[in-house]
């Protein structure tokens, strides 16, 4: 059975019900609170949600609203839902309910706008720190006008399409609303197979019971992405994965790539991979080849879509792929579970599964024409945000690999850091930074002292909190721009400064960024006459990297709990400022 939420297999309804019965509970490394409000009956859905989340090591605490009580739960501030204080609220409507309202409506032309307004009203009634997962409507099968349906704006087909489009547009404009495209799930299955009208009338279930796991998987996938559990890198094999044949044997002219035979399928696959790269997924090559052979198509083949500068890390040698994936992981500084390994060879896939069980290894079919479909079916590409930083990330990782090469020329690290010409800026949160701040809080798992994950609304609220100093750190050097790479939230009182949140992108480890920032915190503490600076370390399965963070700066451990959490403090007078290697700095707060 699949251990990850990404496995395309293991989605049998009864198997999941059984799995939910035997959940370990306490052994899971993170708890997430989710409320489910729906226009259909949800008791069958809940065990599936719990089982799928548990596969990713997440314990879901679920608030189950009564059947068809969306308005009552959300609009009444004293409802059970509000008392539960969820991190996520899944609002899942049912097309059957929409149909009833539609048939009774006297204003069919205005119906879509009213329906969208109903949901935006509900969104507004939730605390902005809650992330809403809004389901859309599955297109009903009945068509009173046949194929003329969509030419009639007040037809059901046109109205449901308008409602879904309206929900998507409203969600784009909202900070804290994610979409669950239920209509897409149903369409993938086939809407005729998805729907089960008998089960609706019998038990108010939204689809055939066999398909309910797909809905659960979608909701869990969205929650996990918002929690920072997502694929960040695709590690790609070359021969028979990106092109047909073996470059070392067949030569540049001999590989299948282009408008003949299987070549077309590989071109289409590369287009999809390039699109993933453009949206922020890092592409890496892990190939058993001589380097010169492996690079040749990227440089010279007229039908290659992917070029050398699309690939952040290029590994081609004769070592085993598990070792090469370890190298890749060390270079990128991301978790193994953020890497998906794409290889046509079942032997290599099996080897990687054996030695690196956390790496996600989707099955690939024999026929390259089916690669895209297989990759999609593995549900690897959930994300909870998309920003400028995503578009630039692959390039940044590529630049990072060049930095690593430059490092070799220096005998000591100080000379190397001084040679980088780093420019750092520490400033208060600005409105323009909010999307990136939210994203960094979602994505950072390793260098993260308290793993506080705030939504856009909560981040914006911090900007106006007088007792709070929310800081961002941006960095660049002669190789390129790192962008916004660290978030530090300080809570100020007369006696002390508390470091409430401290997280940093692992791309900038060992640059002295944290030394620079700590110096600034203590300069501020001294200027304010604070008696001490206080910090906390909240242990998770992933942040062992910063376990000794405060100790390394000379903080005293005030207390350690049995779960590994600890609190630390240090007086400004006792702090020894760190040497820094920034060529230029700007501190404004």
């Amino acid at each position: 059975m699949s251990k990850t939420p990404h496995g395309g297999t293991g989605l049998d309804y009864f198997a999941l019900v059984e799995e939910a019965r035997r959940l370990p509970g306490a052994a899971l490394d993170r708890t997430v609170r989710l409320a489910v409000v729906a226009e259909f009956s949800t008791p069958h859905l809940l065990p599936l949600l719990r089982a799928l989340a548990a596969r990713a090591g997440v314990l879901l605490e679920i608030y189950q609203a009564d059947y068809d009580s969306i308005e009552a739960e959300i609009l009444d501030a004293s409802s059970g839902l509000h008392a539960f204080a969820p991190r996520y609220v899944a609002i899942l409507p049912a097309a059957e309910k929409l149909k009833v309202k539609f048939y009774r409506s006297e204003d069919r032309l205005g119906f879509a706008a009213q329906m969208v307004a109903r949901f935006t009203w509900l969104w507004a009634a939730m605390n902005s720190g809650v992330t809403i997962i809004q389901g859309n409507f599955v297109q009903p099968s009945e068509r009173a006008f046949g194929h003329f349906e969509l030419k009639v704006p007040e037809s059901m087909g046109a109205v449901v399409a308008a409602v879904n489009a309206g929900l998507a547009a409203a969600a784009r404009a909202a900070n804290n609303v994610l979409l669950c495209d239920v209509d897409h799930i149903a369409a993938e299955i086939g809407r005729a197979s998805w729907a089960d009208e008998a089960l609706w009338s019998l038990a108010k279930l939204p689809c055939r019971l066999d398909h309910l796991p797909l809905l659960a998987q979608a909701v869990v996938g969205i929650v996990l992405a918002a929690e920072g559990r997502m694929i960040k890198c695709l590690a790609l094999d070359l021969d028979n994965t990106l092109w047909g044949g073996v470059i070392g044997d067949d030569g540049l002219a001999g590989i299948a790539l282009g408008e003949f035979d299987e070549g077309e399928a590989f071109v289409a696959f590369q287009h999809f991979l390039k699109d993933l790269k453009n949206r922020g997924i890092i592409l890496a090559v892990v190939s058993k080849n001589d380097m010169a052979n492996a690079r040749l198509p990227f440089q010279k083949h007229p039908h290659m879509v992917l070029r050398e500068d699309d690939v952040a890390v290029f590994i081609a040698n004769w070592d085993n792929k598990a070792d090469n994936l370890r190298r890749l992981q060390a270079t990128l500084n991301i978790g193994f579970d953020a890497i998906a390994f794409i290889d046509d060879n079942p032997f290599e896939r099996d080897l990687v599964r054996q030695f690196l069980p956390d790496v996600v290894v989707p099955e690939l079919p024999e026929d390259p024409a089916l690669y895209i479909r297989a990759l999609n079916a593995a549900h690897l590409f959930e994300t909870a945000s998309y920003s400028q930083a995503d578009r630039e990330r692959p390039k940044q990782y590529r630049v990072e690999a060049q930095r690593e090469l430059a490092k070799v020329a220096f005998t000591n690290i100080e000379d190397y850091l001084a040679s980088l010409g780093m420019k750092i800026a520490v400033e208060r949160f600005t409105p323009f930074q909010v999307p990136r701040i939210v994203q960094l809080m979602q994505r950072s798992n390793q260098f993260n002292l308290t793993t506080q994950r705030l939504g856009a609304g909560a981040v914006a609220a911090l900007m106006h909190d007088a007792k709070c100093l929310p800081l961002t750190v941006t960095l660049s050097d002669k190789f390129g721009d790192y962008g916004l790479i660290s978030v530090v939230i300080l809570r100020l009182s007369e006696a002390e400064i508390e470091i409430e949140s401290y997280l940093m992108s692992c791309r900038v480890l060992k640059r002295g960024v944290e030394d620079f920032v700590m110096n600034e915190i203590f300069t501020l503490a001294a200027a304010r006459g604070a008696k001490r600076v206080v910090g906390r370390y909240l242990k998770t399965a992933k942040n062992a990297m910063v376990e000794n963070f405060y100790q390394n700066f000379g903080f005293q451990k005030d207390y350690e709990w049995s779960n590994g959490d600890s609190t630390w403090s240090l007086a400004p007078a006792a702090y020894a400022p760190r040497p820094v290697f920034m060529a230029d700095s700007r501190v404004t707060f």
Binding site: R21, H44, S201, L202, L209
Partner: protein, 80 residues
């Protein structure tokens, strides 16, 4: 299909659905006799039966069922 064979396979399905390995179904058994047999697990039971015997039950058939005997009769008729 013989009634005995149906009953034996139903016992297997009931044990799995209600997570109870000691269950043995009889013709006159009703939901009142099995603690875990509620409206939620009833739906699971129907899907399990539909899958096992490769049949589809109509809403009316599901609503009309009063005991296990009715189940057996329906299966015998539909899975012929």
């Amino acid at each position: 299909m013989q009634q005995d064979e149906i009953l034996a396979r139903l016992t297997e399905i009931f044990r799995k659905t209600f997570d109870d390995d000691r269950l043995t179904v009889t013709h006159d058994m009703t939901a009142a006799d099995v603690e875990a047999w509620d409206s939620l697990s009833h739906i699971n039971l129907i899907l399990a039966v539909e899958r096992a015997f490769e049949i589809r039950l109509t809403t009316r058939e599901v609503r009309a069922m009063k005991n296990v005997g009715d189940f057996v009769g329906l299966i015998a008729k539909k899975a012929a």
